[in-house]
């Protein structure tokens, strides 16, 4: 199931918190720090807005990898949102692995608004990891 295919371009869905990671993406853009076009950003008000259903839905609809990016712990615009995210998505990540999803396919990262370079790096690394894993067939709708 995890065989890389020739010319495979992974589809990656990135849920980015409005205040930090989305700003980080912006900075990467304005700073001309390239990151792969495979990444599709969905802007969310806070990483804690990411319902586990969003992650499952993304895989169902064809994502090869999903990443949730939020402010560093302690820097949440809403004071504590990302602390909840940390607990919640830590559990989800382990659960998905238990259900047979390669852990590389679902990532969580803290990226601040000033970390444009980190944003580009994380996305580049993730894309490379997923490319190596190959297309995701698990949890996918069979349309």
């Amino acid at each position: 199931m995890s065989v890389a295919k020739e010319g495979f371009e992974p589809l990656i869905v990135a849920f980015c918190c409005n205040w930090c990671s989305y700003a980080g993406a912006d900075l990467a853009g304005t700073g001309r720090m390239p990151y792969p076009a495979n990444v599709r950003i969905v802007r969310v008000p806070c990483s804690s807005r990411v319902n586990p259903s969003f992650v499952i839905r993304a895989f169902q609809r064809g994502a090869d990898g999903v990443i949730v990016a939020g402010c560093h712990p302690g820097d949440c615009h809403y004071h504590s949102g990302n602390f909840f995210t940390r607990r919640r998505l830590s559990v989800l990540r382990r659960l998905l692995e238990y259900m047979g999803i390669e852990p590389e396919r679902f990532q969580v990262r803290w990226i601040s608004g000033s970390e444009g370079a980190k944003f580009a790096q994380v996305m580049t690394d993730l894309t490379a990891d997923i490319r190596a894993l190959g297309p995701n067939r698990k949890l996918r709708d069979a349309l």
Partner: protein
């Protein structure tokens, strides 16, 4: 006086004295293994109550609707059931004053499937608990047979840690001593050991059986949302098509929604008509929450906060924080 008589007496007295305007208990059925939930508003109905080793239903779930039309409900509760009561209290879905809890110590309930597998189903009229045995009343000449109870207990009862009610207003009978006979996490560890693709195949086989009857959700005392996301049409969170991805979606999210709130009662798995080992998913979450954020058992203390409802700044993360 046996437990059936005690239950009837208690119920009749509660209704006569108007201590509560509803009693929820268990009745008898056509078959030895039936123990349908029973709703009494009238003391005369108390004679329909019946205690048996099949009183498996957690009556707490009914409080959500019944308390809309009743002032105070009395209900019979086993140890596992009281964790459900605590859950509902913790979620502010019921008020403690609105319930009268009659505790029933429980040394474990019988599993019809195990009796059936041992050839005891046809002609079996009644099963009674006596010490460490079940006394089987059989049709025909033999009359009765004594079998070791341990061999015929529900799996979930073998794994039970709370045979006695944790919260009650009255207790019927004596508290029981019952050691946990099986490690509930053993299966989780076994599944966990499999390589990732084997895990996927394992769950694919189990979950492909799901027919989405939602019995697991409807029976669960932790599933008490006023409107469940799986019932919403706009947006629709889970499609209705009978395909694996929707079944995976449903089962993963259902169990995630009760993360930190699952009382480990095993009712979802018992209610599942398709024999899907749902507790292996729920317990995986219980295990991880404990590993990451410390020992926690839902439904023990109604005043605490479930682990996903709180945080500490120094929490570890289940992902790289670099």
């Amino acid at each position: 006086m046996n437990l059936t008589e005690k239950m009837r007496q208690e119920a009749a007295q509660i209704l006569e004295s108007k201590e509560a305007d509803l009693v929820i208990g268990w009745g008898g059925g056509e078959y030895y293994w039936q123990s349908p939930p029973l709703f009494l508003e009238d003391a005369a109905g108390a004679a329909e109550l019946a205690f048996s080793p099949f009183i498996v239903n957690n009556l707490a779930k009914y409080l959500l609707e019944e308390l809309e039309s009743h002032e105070k409900a009395a209900l019979f509760v086993k140890g596992c059931d009281t964790r459900g009561i605590n859950r509902l209290l913790q979620d502010h879905r019921i008020q403690r004053e609105a319930v009268l809890l009659i505790g029933v110590p429980c040394a474990g309930l019988a599993d019809r499937e195990k009796l059936k597998a041992a050839g005891y189903d046809a002609g079996l009229l009644q099963v009674e608990r006596q010490g460490d045995s079940f006394i089987l009343t059989l049709e025909g000449e033999e009359g009765a047979r004594e079998v070791p109870a341990g061999e015929f207990l529900l799996d979930k009862c073998l794994e039970c840690r709370y045979p006695n009610p944790l919260v009650y207003d009255r207790l019927l009978g004596e508290e029981v001593q019952k050691p946990r006979e099986r490690d509930p996490m053993a299966r989780v560890r076994e599944v966990q050991k499999k390589p990732v693709d084997e895990k996927y195949a394992y769950w694919q086989e189990k979950l492909s059986r799901c027919i989405r009857c939602y019995a697991c959700r409807n029976v669960c005392p932790a599933c008490n949302c006023r409107e469940c996301i799986f019932d919403q049409n706009a947006p629709r969170w889970v499609g209705k098509a009978n395909q694996l991805s929707e079944k995976q979606n449903y089962n993963i999210i259902r169990s995630f929604h009760i993360a930190g709130r699952c009382i480990d009662c095993g009712e979802c798995q018992r209610a599942c008509p398709m024999d899907i080992p749902l507790m292996e998913i729920n317990r995986k979450i219980i295990q991880d929450l404990t590993e990451l954020y410390g020992e926690y058992e839902a439904g023990i203390d109604p005043t605490d906060v479930p682990p996903l409802g709180t945080y500490r700044a120094e929490d570890p993360a289940g992902f790289s924080e670099r």
